[in-house]
Symmetry: C2
Subunit: 407 residues, 2 copies
């Protein structure tokens, strides 16, 4: 149903958020500025600047940076972000990793914890691990009460934002309808925000990465699953049921393998990290020789996509074949997203974005081949530079957006 | 590049537009209302209501409906839309039709002209025809100066909004880089607005059709070409280069027929009205028997998609086969759009939306089969009720939006 768009209060809150974000953005990029400089750089009037600065100083977001000479020679009070006063926590969980990041008010990771585990670990153990890892991070940071703004939680799958429930976490068993918001909130005494991981990565790009100067872009998340974070008009597009961007479930090969979703030939069943590892395992099981076997010391069932990438770099034919087919299929699905969205830019992130030419060359070739030429010509395709912290940074950013910019 | 999102003036203009649209929407649905009633129904304060009503009466959009008794028993001045004071013109042009509609301020077509021609007519003749048809419509309506708000022009293909140029009109020869805005503006002395036809249809649905109560929906336009109009957060999504929604150019069969775009196996090369007609022509040329031959009195080269639909209703096997394959391919491409956008609703419009079960049953079956079950379950799929005026109504709506709601 249509949300109330003509709501005056809503639009004024939006304006307030945008102006606050603008001021903090200026302080972030300039280091410190006077009120006059803030007014002239932002184009906002003095009264608005005063309101915003008062709000930020009362909430300890901004502090005085002392008196500094302005260009006119007069000394004026400068303001700066109170960087290490408070922090947002971002928790990113996947089928084989947990990452917890402490993000300061300048959007920089102040501390982080990362833990990898084998695909298939039980949801119960993953949950325990995530609680202890987050607790350890907070303990080491020695932050008193009120200095944690909140927790952003991100995972693959579907969630209910209103009720704070993670409905389905792809590839994590026992996480059906998990009341993760209340659970984390009770454990850490903080407000908790939920978001899908590909969308969190897109948020991180929008604020700190390749998406900083873009209105419309898509973030292709190549990991154990494959997802798409969509930014339209400078905002995350979540879809009517918070289910947008399920590019991993485009059926690219109707006669292909069964996917976990119940359909056949989804992109994820051919090209996700999980699929790449299991395809190589199967081929080796059938007797195909591969350098991957040596890389894992004959522990075939421990092969990961990273091992396949390593073998491809050694020109192992099986690894090159499997990554090549994955790349071609990802490129085809990406062409569909480009043709429908006409984004300014595609940012490729996630663990497999580091796979190099064995995956990326066929991916780009196939994206070019299948995309309407007029759309491909205008497009820039970039690799994310944010690394493995990306989704947790994005999740923490949701907290900052709400607590600092919100009303 | 990022547009200025934090612009205070921009947000306030947006607010003004939304409030004006709200007031006009209330008058449209209630017939007439007093200022007090407008305030209470809109939730806006008296000062805002006064400003809007003054703006609307000065511009002749709203007039007095006389004094009427209110619920308190006191007589108050009522206001109503000045329905027949001014009009917007919508011109919709395609590979085989021109439609020109005069839209009144209540969003109802007051007059229209429609002309069909054979696919392949030269762009020069189409242009002459569109000018004479529009001139005839305006002459018959006997509208004095200042009573035409402007002209909305819509066609398939790519355009340059800033320079007012139609860059490529699919299937119309000789329309490369046509300066259509200046041309129409010179001829009719009116401001001219350009938009792609599938997006115009989505706009018409948003204001007057199945999209009225929806925030996020997609309009699947099945005509001589196949396009997608995308509404996100209650606004048209045009894409970074005004090229969003090119669903007709998703490659659904990489080994398939050459498409006019240069790629192979695009949806349009199998399932557009043009493709359906030419596939049937080819099969008949190869000796396949079909009832279509009788329907066109043996003029095989004059077969249209409408003839194929008619033959399918008579259970002609060739027609049923061709429409079935078209439907399956459209359904597959639609599943991609649903899986990426997660819309609340899909509205199917365009001439071929009237093709009935021979096309729509396989279309829906295939959309269901290929869409991630969690996304398909939430979705409603509807047929457009706006008919062949849809794109021209949408185009005229752009004029009303800008002239009446704009600043």
């Amino acid at each position: 149903m249509k949300k109330e768009r003509s709501n005056q209060g809503g639009s004024q809150n939006l304006l307030k958020r945008l102006n606050r974000a603008k001021i903090l953005g200026l302080l972030r990029s300039h280091g410190s500025l006077s009120r006059t400089e803030l007014a002239s750089l932002s184009g906002l009037d003095n009264k608005t600047i005063t309101n915003i600065v008062n709000h930020f100083t009362e909430t300890h977001v901004v502090v005085s940076a002392g008196q500094m000479k302005s260009s006119s020679g007069r000394r004026k009070e400068h303001l700066k972000i109170n960087t290490d006063y408070s922090y947002a926590v971002g928790i990113d969980i996947g089928a084989s990793h947990i990452t917890v990041t402490l993000l300061n008010l300048e959007g920089r990771p102040a501390a982080e914890k990362h833990h990898s585990y084998r695909f298939g670990l039980s949801g119960k153990i993953i949950l325990e691990k995530l609680l202890s890892l987050t607790r350890a991070l907070l303990d080491e940071a020695k932050l008193g009460p009120g200095r944690i703004l909140g927790i952003g939680f991100t995972a693959p799958g579907f969630f209910d934002k209103e009720r704070g429930i993670w409905k389905t976490a792809v590839n994590i068993t026992g996480w059906e309808s998990l009341p993760i918001r209340d659970l984390l909130s009770r454990h850490f005494g903080a407000d908790v925000y939920l978001q899908d991981c590909s969308r969190s990565m897109a948020l991180a790009e929008m604020w700190y990465g390749e998406g900083k100067n873009l209105d419309d872009f898509i973030l292709l998340d190549l990991g154990q699953g494959i997802g798409l974070g969509i930014v339209i008009g400078g905002s995350l597009y979540e879809g009517a049921g918070l289910k947008s961007g399920e590019i991993g479930h485009l059926v690219v090969d109707p006669d292909g393998r069964m996917c976990t979703c119940g359909n056949r030939g989804c992109l994820e069943s051919i090209a996700s990290g999980t699929a790449i590892a299991s395809l190589v395992q199967e081929e080796i099981g059938k007797g195909t020789r591969s350098k991957v076997v040596d890389l894992v010391n004959n522990h075939i069932d421990e092969i990961t996509a990273a091992d396949v990438v390593e073998a491809a770099n050694l020109r192992d034919p099986l690894a090159v074949d499997v990554l090549g087919e994955a790349g071609r299929m990802i490129g085809k699905a990406l062409s569909y997203a480009i043709t429908l969205f006409n984004p300014e830019s595609v940012i490729i992130g996630g663990q497999l974005s580091k796979a190099g030419p064995a995956l990326l060359d066929p991916l780009l070739d196939s994206a070019r081949r299948f995309t309407l030429p007029q759309l491909f010509g205008d497009l820039s395709i970039k690799l994310s530079g944010l690394g493995f912290l990306s989704a947790s940074i994005g999740a923490a950013t949701i907290v900052i957006n709400d607590k600092i910019f919100g009303s």
